[in-house]
């Protein structure tokens, strides 16, 4: 299931990425080709990895708060 999902996502990414090479905004900081794909991949990778590390630091024992 996960492999098939990745396959579909890769195909869609290639199609959209290819279209994005030709259809760009006329002006602005995001007119660089690949701005959004790079941002999406870089941010998700960075945030998920940082969150994995930080969770260990900020996690407290169960019932430390009056969680309901």
């Amino acid at each position: 299931m996960k492999d098939r999902l990745i396959r579909y996502l890769v195909v869609a990414a290639v199609v959209l990425g290819g279209l994005g090479l030709f259809i760009r905004p006329d002006s602005g900081v995001d007119r660089m080709p690949g701005f959004y794909p790079l941002t999406g991949v870089a941010i998700i990778t960075l945030v998920v990895l940082v969150v994995r590390v930080l969770t260990r630091l900020i996690e407290r024992p169960k019932d430390e708060y009056d969680a309901d």
Binding site: A13, G20, I43, V51, I58, E59, A67
Partner: protein, 563 residues
């Protein structure tokens, strides 16, 4: 009181009636926003102004422009939708509180000066806390007290700021303020608490996650939005806000991605969206302010939708903890359908109104001249929306295999009706963007709907999803949900300060005992209640009152002498 405040009066009258006639409170809650909306349409239009003469002071009670109308209309709509959602509840507390709360919110955005704003600011605090307490659990009671402390602190700070501005001769009209005096900083701090600036934010996830199901739905619509409105009125173009807003939009992400309580997840994600709005206010140009106004509307709609869905889950399953949920999609197909639309809107997917508002807001921030990395950071919040709303709320609650058995059905009809109306509004706004022109008070000519922008947004979301799925396959995805508690700055006042107070009290007790022992020895106290001499005598109440009066008189004369 001027007639232009009649919509507020109608809400308070409705609250009073609902409190007296609690058998029909839910119907009063439903009808009141409709009547108030009709009256607002008749009385309020851009340019309307009314003063309120109290003794020798003239208050600017009402000042209306296009931005005011956007917020007034939004609060009426939110009150109406929340009343539909809560139609099955026959609660004698929530309906009056909800009506008084919405009325206070409308009064706050109609205010023409800081004093009127402060009056409604305090009423907002007092009426909203009832909605937290309405859940009637010990946790909700404690969270409500903390919520009230923060909101009252915000009111006191605002009052101090107003007093300083007044004494130093500033105009108290609700207009642009500069950070060139302590008064300006105090007003900014008060607004910052209401908006949930970093380190001043904990009352949001704390209170909203513990409020009743219907209470949290209306809470997300008003308090923080009044903060955003006040900030837009007074500090638009203040560059500091761009930095604060960016920090605010990024740092709750850690909690959003790993918090177990899904209503806390939404509360943190609310802060992310408000951070984006604060950055837009910092940009301060017409495009950004149009974006802020429209994004407030869209954010209220999709946040209400997601909170409504989780409220339905709370009612049906008895919990909103990700670690205890799963498999609700089969039991609650309607609710899952609404959540999918809410998730798409939260991620600013094209076809929803949130795409339009977010692109407008980001367009304004871009026009303020931010660099590509800064812009990429803010843009990427849409991609992260896929994770926090999509993966956390949709997957954990509805799509994943169930972790515990659950016999409940789908949300009740009134709940589904309220969610259905919001879903329709989000889709109509996204598919027919010209209908949203009235939500752009500055009437900027920026067009966010372009083929390139739509394609860009799909690229961002798709590549983000691809990156996450690959990371997950490599075993590097988000930590699995479990019943964890995360450290946030609230630890300071929920753990550290009470612990210090306990230790301090114990220390004082020990010191007092030792001092007492010393005095007894020095005074040769005979014990058994017999008074030996002057040191051991108790002070009569009259004497204490006398000395208090003397001290007050000294302070009064000192003040007069100094002035």
């Amino acid at each position: 009181m001027p007639i232009e405040l009649l919509p507020v009066g109608i809400f308070w009258l409705g609250a009073l009636l609902a409190a007296i006639r609690h058998d029909s409170a839910r119907w009063i809650a439903l009808v009141t926003p409709v009547i108030a909306a009709l009256v607002s349409v008749m009385l309020l239009a851009p340019g309307v102004a009314a003063d309120w003469q109290i003794m020798n002071y003239t208050l600017a009670a009402v000042r209306v422009d296009q931005m005011t109308l956007v917020f007034v209309g939004l609060f009426h709509l939110a009150g109406f939708l929340a009343a539909i959602y809560a139609l099955e509840l026959n609660d004698r507390i929530q309906a009056p509180a909800m009506l008084a709360y919405v009325g206070s919110g409308i009064g706050a955005v109609l205010a023409g000066d800081l004093v009127m704003l402060w009056l409604f600011w305090e009423m907002l605090a007092l009426t909203s806390v009832v909605l937290v307490w309405a859940r009637q659990t010990p946790e909700a009671t404690a969270a409500g007290i903390r919520y009230l402390v923060f909101n009252v602190l915000s009111g006191v700070t605002l009052l101090a700021g107003i007093a300083h501005l007044g004494v130093s001769g500033h105009d108290l009209a609700l207009g642009p303020l500069a950070l060139d005096s302590p008064g300006g900083w105090l007003v900014l701090a008060a607004f910052g608490i209401k908006c949930g600036f970093p380190l001043l934010h904990n009352w949001i996830p704390d209170g909203y996650a513990r409020a009743s199901a219907a209470g949290s739905v209306i809470l997300v619509a008003i308090t923080t939005k009044v903060g955003v409105y006040s900030l837009a009125r007074t500090f638009a173009g203040e560059e500091l806000l761009m930095i604060v807003g960016t920090v605010m939009a990024l740092w709750p992400l850690v909690y959003v991605l790993v918090e177990d309580d899904l209503r806390r997840v939404l509360a943190y994600s609310l802060m992310v969206q408000i951070g984006l709005m604060v950055a837009g206010i910092g940009a301060g140009n017409e495009i950004a302010l149009d974006g802020v106004s429209m994004h407030v509307v869209m954010d209220v709609l999709f946040k209400m939708l997601l909170f409504m869905a989780l409220g339905a889950v709370l009612v049906q399953a008895g919990t909103v903890r990700a670690s205890q949920l799963g498999g609700l999609g089969r039991r609650m197909p309607w609710t899952m359908g609404f959540v999918i639309i809410g998730v798409l809107a939260n991620s600013a997917t094209p076809g929803t109104g949130a795409f339009l508002s977010k692109k407008l807001l980001l367009g304004g921030i871009e026009h303020a001249g931010v660099g590509p990395i800064w812009y990429a950071l803010l843009t990427s919040l849409s991609a992260l929306g896929v994770l926090y709303a999509g993966v956390r709320v949709l997957y954990e609650a509805f799509l994943r295999a169930p972790r515990t058995s659950f016999d409940g059905g789908d949300a009740s009809f009134p709940m589904r009706l309220a969610m259905g109306i919001i879903t329709a509004l989000l889709l109509v706004a996204g598919l027919f963007p010209w209908l949203t022109d009235a939500l752009r008070p500055m009437a900027s000519d920026y067009q966010p709907i372009k083929l390139a922008k739509i394609l860009d947004q799909f690229q961002l979301l798709l590549f983000a999803l691809l990156a996450y799925v690959v990371l997950n396959k490599l075993g590097l995805g988000l930590p699995a949900s479990n019943r964890r508690t995360l450290l946030d700055t609230e630890w300071l006042y929920r753990k550290l300060i009470p612990a210090l107070a306990r230790h301090g009290a114990a220390l004082l007790g020990r010191m007092s005992k030792r001092i007492g022992n010393v005095i007894r020895i020095a005074d040769r106290h005979p014990g058994n209640g017999h008074v030996a001499n002057s040191l051991a005598r108790g002070s009569p109440t009259g004497s204490m009152a006398f000395w208090a009066m003397v001290l007050l008189a000294v302070m009064l004369f000192a003040g007069i002498w100094r002035s």
